[in-house]
């Protein structure tokens, strides 16, 4: 399986995605830094213009990194898998003496693991920047995390798992409709579902919702590959 994942990265030119992730992480970091220390989210009178409950720095960090990486993961899944169906390179892949479920699983894991690591590294880098910045500058947002606490890292990992896994729902839709656009649009809809708020109501702070969502996402991942062996490759 490791070999298959490595080959997926190689043939899809993973260097391109590494560069993309670095640029995205830098821009996200810059944006969060500007929010926290340059007051770009402040009213003219200098007070923070944030909804109740989102005046802590982890709120914009989680929101923007989640949004960015959910879309990035979906774009990668669209390229690795949906486009392969469309441009018929999947025909070639299915002519190899390898179980088809294994081929698809390797493609999904190749994208998932890359984005999981990239998201964790990006979040860590941003939190670290804010942590360092807060030692020398005043932050408009309350600093609500502790770099030294274990629960910070556990949360970081769990939230990253949920976000990256959610893209499997988008993949399922994309494969069903044979459309890369559908994959990416679904990822946008998932962002609205999970991160947006209606009045005071939001799913973002619900503790059970991420668990349910992860289970659903993994269910969709299984659905994407379960029948591939007995289905026509059209």
């Amino acid at each position: 399986m490791l070999k298959l994942i490595r080959l997926e990265w190689k043939k899809n030119n993973i260097g391109k995605y590494i560069r993309g992730a670095i640029i995205m992480a830098f821009l996200l970091g810059l944006f969060v830094f500007a929010l926290a220390f340059w007051g770009i989210a402040n009213d003219p009178d200098g007070t923070l213009d944030a909804a109740p409950g989102t005046d802590v720095i982890s709120a914009p960090i989680e929101l923007f990194t989640s949004m960015a990486f959910l879309i990035y993961t979906s774009v990668m899944l669209a390229t690795f898998i949906v486009s392969a169906y469309k441009n018929k390179t999947m025909n070639l892949m299915f002519s190899y003496p390898i179980k088809r479920q294994k081929i698809l699983a390797s493609q999904m894991i190749a994208v998932w693991s890359f984005n999981f690591i990239a998201l964790i590294v990006t979040k860590l880098a941003i939190y670290l920047c804010v942590f360092m910045g807060a030692r020398f500058m005043h932050s408009s947002f309350a600093i609500d995390f502790s770099i030294g606490s274990l629960s910070f890292y556990v949360q970081l990992i769990l939230k990253s798992v949920v976000i990256v896994s959610m893209s499997f729902i988008a993949l399922f839709v994309g494969v069903a409709l044979k459309s890369s656009k559908a994959t990416i649009i679904t990822s946008f809809l998932l962002i609205f579902l999970t991160q947006a708020n209606v009045g005071d109501f939001t799913m973002a702070n619900n503790a059970v919702f991420p668990v349910i969502l992860t289970i659903i996402s993994l269910g969709f991942a299984v659905l994407s590959i379960v029948n591939v062996q007995s289905k026509d490759l059209i």
């Binding site: 025909n91 892949m93 002519s95 062996q229």
Partner: protein, 307 residues
Amino acid sequence: MSYILQTNHLSKVIDGKELVTDVNIHIKKGEIYGFLGPNGAGKTTVMKMITNLWKPTNGTVALFGEALEDTSYEVLKRMGSIIEFPTFYEHMSGKDNLQLHCEYMGYYNKGSVEEAMQMLDLADAANKPVKRYSLGMKQRLGIARAILCRPELVILDEPANGLDPAGMKQIRDLFKMLCTEYGMTLMISSHLLPEIESIADTVGVIHHGKMMKEISMKEIVETNTAYIELVVEDIKKASYVLAEKMQLSNFKIVDNTIIRIYERGTTTQKISKELMMNDVGISSISQHTQNLEDYFLKITGEVGKSC
């Protein structure tokens, strides 16, 4: 007789439309099998089922003596194929594409990639990205990939697409060489009948999704030969000479002046000499041979239409 590839009553229905019906194919080890049919006849559908990309609605495929199942993966190690058109990772070079293929096939033989590219005259373009290849080069790269791992069975769907006449000749020679020197079995679909005619041992003709005929080229030559067409002034006298003097029985009077002689072993020289000796005036005498194209058109009933 054992076959390397055999299909039994193979049928495929998609959305209620019968794409192929009751197709029986028998391919012997080491032969070149020409799979002929007009566009839309069902050639690619059959090839997709043989390579397990599509599943038959009815019937079975047997490869190397074993029934092809959904879980038949090992058998794919022994096959090379191009179905519809060859696809590549276009940003990668031709050489990298072939190396990637070896990795997936689990085939590690030093120098095999270079050798395959050499065989297909692609050595100079080995390091160029595939997106800069011409259609003909991509086709040759596809063939190189199909034969790279020395498969026992090669399935090629319209391999001559995009090739110039020199390229076609080169590919034809390569196919013969693969067959004789490497013992590979080739199934080649094509609508370019002269290309198949010169290399195939057996041909199968499919039309409107049905297998019309499966026959060896030798049989075509023997059973569908040729005739000598004679245009004479006196048809009665000419018939008398042919029947009585030359003891020929297999000839047909087409009209008042034309006779067609199907008898084997006779020649235009013998006939003209005998007729002249008996004072039968000859306007013209000519030999007509039936090639694969004539045979194909006869089988498919597509005379007068383009293949």
